[in-house]
């Protein structure tokens, strides 16, 4: 069996499982929807942290923008959505699906535009920082965004805001958001796969390995870094919009969850293996499944356990699962080097 057929089979298997899962286990639709969200988180974090070497703690910023934007748009449009006040002042009781989905789509579009604009704008300054300065600066960005959200009356300040309720039965809502997250994660995966295989992937890997040399070789480092952050922001804003509506309620804790999602995305990517395509997917799956299975038994001590987990993984297992596999079976999982190209003599041009 060649590599290509094996890959196609693998994708088909995962795709089929993803498509059929909500019908096979209807009780776990929301948990499975969140699994795809976690995969998306880990993938988008790894684009900056693993592939480009820019370890960000502030990616929740884009997630938060995504959470708020659609809810604000739907509120401002005064669409007749159940439970929302109307222009006349009464609460609407009907919930036309048409309005809900249109408002949601419009909101998501706006969320993406704002998030990408913020990524590009902030990125031009912040992405000039390196290493620890970048990490701590983005940590500051994430917390500052949360603080601003909790003081800003327009978006509900400390008391938060309610997203419109899904028009339909809760199980239909779960199904809708499951497929939304599934499609988002799949698109994200293939976009990144495509990007990593292109010149873009080489450029950001070069930035990770040695930014000064990359720049000296003529790579437009600033442009590539900004693009990478914008791609992250794009997907995170979409995920945020979907999550805000799935959760129905949005406040600072939901939208800018620095200590949960913000750290989890780093942890999942490292657990699976930084700087690999499959690592974040594996890490997110393992993390989310373990979390769903065991977390409830910890009765409030989950976050303590999470901290311990971070320390243990980072200290003892910094290479992650893919890194470990590469060390164990380099012939199967290692980077392939084109030996012929490497052995070929380097010509320095004619006339020498």
């Amino acid at each position: 069996m060649t590599d290509t057929t094996r890959n196609v089979l693998l994708y088909a298997l995962i795709g089929l499982t993803g498509l059929l899962a909500p019908s096979l286990a209807p009780a776990f639709r929301i948990q499975m929807a969140l699994l795809w969200m976690m995969i998306l988180f880990a993938l988008t974090w790894d684009l900056g942290g693993g592939q480009m070497g820019y370890n960000s703690f502030g990616n929740v910023l884009f997630f938060g923008i995504g959470c708020y934007a659609p809810a604000v748009v739907q509120r401002e449009l005064f669409f007749a959505v159940e439970g929302q006040p109307q222009a006349t002042g009464d609460l609407a009781t009907i919930s036309p699906a048409f309005n809900y989905f249109n408002g949601f789509a419009l909101g998501l579009t706006l969320a993406v535009i704002i998030a990408v604009a913020v990524a590009a704008g902030l990125g031009s300054g912040i992405l000039g920082l390196r290493g620890q300065y970048f990490a701590i600066c983005t940590l500051g960005v994430g917390v500052a965004a949360g603080e601003i959200a909790s003081g800003w009356d327009y978006i509900g300040a400390g008391s938060g805001m309610v997203a419109p309720i899904f028009p339909g039965h809760p199980s239909q809502a779960a199904l809708f958001f499951y497929y939304l997250f599934f499609v988002l994660a799949v698109i994200c995966f293939f976009t990144l796969k495509r990007l990593y295989a292109s010149r873009f992937g080489l450029a950001i890997n070069a930035i990770r390995d040695d930014e000064d040399k990359a720049e000296a070789m003529g790579v437009h480092t600033t442009r590539y870094k900004a693009i990478a952050w914008c791609v992250s922001a794009f997907f995170l804003a979409l995920a945020g919009g979907a999550f805000g509506h799935l959760n129905n309620f949005i406040d600072r804790e939901v939208a800018f969850p620095g200590i949960t999602f913000g750290v989890w995305m780093v942890l999942m990517a490292i657990l699976g293996g930084k700087g690999t395509l499959w690592g974040p997917v594996i890490g997110a799956t393992i993390f989310h499944v373990t979390q769903e299975l065991f977390w409830t038994y910890l009765l409030g001590w989950q976050r303590v356990a999470l901290g311990v987990l971070i320390v243990v993984i980072v200290v003892f297992f910094p290479l992650g699962i893919m890194g470990w596999l590469r060390e164990q079976w380099p012939e199967k999982f290692g980077e392939t080097v084109d030996l012929e190209a490497r052995a070929a003599p380097v010509s320095l041009g004619e006339g020498r």
Binding site: I126, G128, Y133, I136, C137, G307, V314, V315
Partner: protein, 306 residues
């Protein structure tokens, strides 16, 4: 829109009543001394071990709880400062021996993430064990009045300020003149050379980390007496310390103090002008702004913050 009107209003109030500015300035400077302790501890660990300790603020928080519980048991809070420092010294030592020594020579991001993990553990443990309530320790001291009672300074803030200065001076003298202090400074300059010269760098690292925790513990003790403590207070102190150190540089006590007092004052003014709900947002945004600005200045010479 309303927000900006309010801001302009507050600003004009400041201009019309300069005495208010004096009050804010005094309060800010008194707070700043405590920031200086935390920041100097961070600079010490950063300079000696090449680790940015994200759990810095959590040490402050735990120091606060030591004082709170001792005060609840009947001890006068001022006498609990050494106890808080001692408890945190032990904790710092234990953390070094279990976790931190494993990340000393690793990539900076690994140590940031590891200490981030430690900070989450400490914060959540405090949340589970001490509950999320806001606590404070009453010192029973009154207030001082200046300028016909227009400026009010609570005595405990002054005491805390003096305590912070004394602690800072002690630390400075210790580093300058004791044998261990000299070993710490030698390790900061060049760990390998220090090892060749017979310095037990592992012990120096352990002492440095524990010493830093002790300073933070003492600072936390002062914090709970002057303001309050709760489990989620840590990150703000960590980020403030980081900001101060970035501005002041490593190992320069005078500029650390100056930057800290400046930050304390700036924060108080911002809290007044923007409203207290935006004070924390101001601190974090200031961190981002300072980092980006300093980096932008360096980037003209094709350099970056290192």
């Amino acid at each position: 829109m309303l927000f900006f009107l309010l801001m302009v209003d507050n600003l004009s109030l400041l201009f019309n009543a300069p005495i208010l500015s004096a009050q804010l300035l005094v309060d800010g400077i008194l707070i700043g001394a405590i920031f200086a302790l935390v920041a100097y501890g961070m600079a010490l660990v950063w300079g000696v071990m090449d680790i940015i300790n994200i759990a810095q603020g959590e040490f402050v928080m735990l120091g606060g709880y030591v004082t709170f519980f001792l005060a609840a048991a009947g001890v006068h809070p001022l006498y609990t400062v050494p106890a808080a420092a001692a408890a945190l010294y032990i904790l710092g030592w234990a953390l070094y021996r279990t976790v931190v020594f494993r990340v000393v020579d690793k990539d900076m991001f690994i140590s940031i993430l590891a200490t981030f993990g430690i900070s989450i553990v400490l914060q959540q443990l405090a949340n589970e064990l001490f509950e999320a309530d806001v606590r404070t320790a009453e010192s029973g001291l009154g207030s001082l009045f200046f300028a016909d009672g227009l400026i009010v300074v609570s005595q405990i803030k002054v005491v805390a300020f003096i305590c912070a200065l004394v602690l800072g001076a002690t630390l400075f003298l210790f580093l300058k003149h004791s044998r261990l202090g000299r070993a710490i400074r030698a390790t900061a300059q060049n760990a390998r050379a220090a090892r060749i010269m017979g310095v037990n760098t592992d012990r120096v690292f352990a002492t440095t980390f524990a010493l830093n925790a002790a300073i933070c513990g003492a600072a936390g003790s002062l914090v709970v007496m002057t303001w309050l403590v709760h489990p989620y207070l840590g990150l703000a102190y960590t980020l403030r310390a980081f900001m101060i150190v970035t501005v002041a540089g490593l190992g320069n006590m005078a500029s650390v103090i100056l930057a800290s007092l400046g930050l304390g004052a700036a924060e108080n003014f911002a809290g007044f002008v923007l409203g207290t709900e935006y004070q924390a947002a101001f601190v974090f945004s200031l961190l981002v702004a300072i980092l980006v600005w300093r980096n932008a200045l360096l980037s003209r010479q094709r350099k970056y913050l290192k």
